[in-house]
Amino acid sequence: MSEYTERLLSSPSHKDKSDRLRIVWLIVIPLIAILFQVYVPRFVSFLSYLELPLLITVHFALGRRGPIASVFYGMSIGLVQDSLSHQPIGMFGIVKTLVGYFAASVSQRFDVDNPIVTFILSFFFYFFHQFFYWVLARALLGEAMIFDPQQTLLFGLLNAAVALPLFHILDKLKVAA
């Protein structure tokens, strides 16, 4: 490596620009996912089964491989979701915090670039998300929510199927950024 190239790689302007783009993407993509969840089902009702914020959280956690960052990332997305819902703030925050933490922990032990692993993890975290939200709603809020395992499993499969191309697109965007 020459001196010139070493100076280029350590150039602070290039690194700052890349970080700014990454930060923008970290904010914009979850926002798009939340907007998709609150806006698109108005016109295409069957897309309401998609839990894009959860998939974004999982993708971030699997790619970042840092539990603390994933915890805060999941917590932030969850709190925004709570803010746009009628539930007390913190329900989605807790669940997505746990999802982010466990996804980041799992990513340190498995090859998360494998599509099959990605599919299985997406399915598992969707089921975990729905189940844990149901537990919290019953335990903390005392709401008699109905948990349908079959429907949750089916929707988990669908979300996992959507997660594969979505993660691929997000990876491309991350590389471009």
Partner: protein, 470 residues
């Protein structure tokens, strides 16, 4: 402690975050308060984007949607125009059907409330002839229709049946020039003869100039012609003025206003009372309204004919007596009695089939009918032939092919004897052209002919309806 935090840093952060959120939830649930700050931030961050998306969607997807919609606008417009035309036609058809139903309902209501036995019919066509006012109806002899029956609507008279075929009948309208019917005014009970003029108006003839008829006054059928029952509205006077001898009263038949489509044929007519007008013209002694049943027609009794009987009744009674004397019942069998043996009847040479039917010769091919009096075989044409002329100064020349205006056609050239009673004087020119006015028959009938000269051309001699004020 530092070792613990560095070794379990991730777990510690997770626990702190989870506990913090649990405390947040606990605070919201416990205090029933919301963390407004977080919600405001989130909503403020999301809703503008959402509004922008909605605007973009509205102006993009809506435009695309409108574009694809407009692609089919032309074809849809053509389709809608075609559909609109069909609906207009259907609407017009339904309106006409509704109007027909209304007329039919009015007809049925009138039919149900009328004491007369009637049968409803529909006009199916017009008769031929430029000046002819005849129509065909869809009821014929199979429905009990016969010639001479009255045709009315709830609004008034329409005409009469002149020919009855098995499945249809020919109806002469009241506006036909050869139509005539006995009428009487509502206020002053002025009698006259309704004549068609071939126009929309009709003339009420033979009403003396001295009698009072007002414009707007209603005329009703008098029942004298024995075709139309008494009391049916005829029409309202549109103009009236004095003529040379008689008033010239014009009216529009009320039963034909608005066209004739559905009619009623009177199988058995029942006389009705003429509704009283509110004010009658003073100067006349007006008797009270008739109280007897309007439908009762007095029958002549034996040798003493009733005062209310007509010349035709008396003549028929004489025919009947003559038939009994000759053992040939009147009106039965195929051999008619020799009516020339009746005293008082003018003897003549054997009359031809189309001889005058009035007073000089009895009918030769058909017996006189109750409703139409002595007739020849000419059928409805006798109506035309026997109508009196308005000009009593001289008789009009006889029409070719028409009977009954000149009795000399079949009579010998010798001077015609003056008729003796009983005699049916139906036409002044027929009785004695030399005598003006015609001599009064030597009967007990009043000097003024009952029915005020209702022409027997309607098929019947004038008869006096059972009314006491005439």
């Amino acid at each position: 402690m530092d070792f613990f935090l560095s070794r379990y840093r991730n777990l510690t952060v997770l626990l702190i975050v989870i506990v913090a959120q649990l405390l947040l939830i606990a605070y919201q649930v416990k205090s029933n308060k919301d963390v407004a700050l977080i919600r405001v931030w989130a909503v403020t961050a999301v809703t503008p984007v959402e509004q922008g998306l909605e605007l973009v969607r509205h102006y993009t997807w809506g435009f695309v949607e409108d574009y694809f919609v407009l692609l089919h606008v032309r074809s849809q417009n053509d389709k809608l125009q075609h559909e609109n035309g069909q609906l207009k036609i259907e609407n017009h058809y339904l309106k006409s059907e509704l109007a027909t139903a209304d007329r039919a309902q009015a007809l049925s209501v009138f039919q149900a409330h009328s004491p007369s036995k009637t049968v409803a019919a529909r006009v199916i066509g017009n008769g031929t002839g430029a000046n002819s006012k005849v129509v065909f109806i869809d009821r014929g002899s199979t429905s009990g229709i016969e010639s001479g029956m009255a045709v009315v609507t709830p609004d008034g008279i329409v005409g009469k049946v002149v020919d009855a075929y098995p499945m249809a009948s020919l109806v002469m309208l009241a506006t036909d020039p050869t139509f005539a019917a006995g009428v009487i005014s509502q206020k002053n009970r002025v009698r006259g003869t309704l004549k068609g003029l071939g126009q929309t108006k009709c003339l009420v003839d033979y009403a003396q100039n001295e009698e009072k008829v007002d414009e707007g006054e209603w005329f009703y059928t008098s029942g004298d012609d024995r075709i139309f029952p008494r009391g049916f509205p005829v029409g309202q006077v549109t103009s009236v003025h004095n003529g040379k001898t008689f008033k010239e009263i014009y009216l529009v038949p009320s039963g034909m206003q608005g066209g004739v489509e559905e009619v009623l044929i009177m199988l058995e007519g029942q006389h009705l009372q003429i509704p009283d007008s509110e004010t009658a013209t003073p100067g006349y002694k007006i008797l009270p309204a008739p109280t007897e049943a309007a439908g009762q027609i007095p029958e002549p009794t034996g040798q003493q004919p009733s005062v209310l009987s007509t010349d035709a009744d008396r003549l028929r009674e004489q025919y009947r007596q003559s038939g009994e004397a000759q053992h040939k019942p009147f009106g039965e069998g195929f051999v008619a009695p020799d009516f020339t043996k009746i005293q008082g009847i003018r003897a003549s040479t054997p009359a031809p089939a189309r001889a005058p039917q009035t007073t000089t010769a009895p009918p030769t091919t058909s017996a006189p009918q109750t409703t139409s009096g002595p007739q020849t075989t000419s059928g409805p044409q006798t109506t035309t032939a026997t109508q009196p002329s308005r000009d009593r100064e001289g008789a009009p020349p006889p029409k070719p092919g028409v009977t009954a205006t000149a009795p000399a056609a079949a009579a010998p050239p010798k001077p015609k004897p003056h008729p003796t009673a009983p005699i049916l004087v139906t036409d002044p020119t027929d009785a004695d052209p030399d005598a003006v006015p015609p001599p009064a028959p030597k009967t007990d009938k009043p000097a003024k002919p009952i029915g005020n000269g209702t022409p027997p051309g309607n098929g019947a001699p004038p008869s006096r309806p059972p009314s006491g004020n005439q």
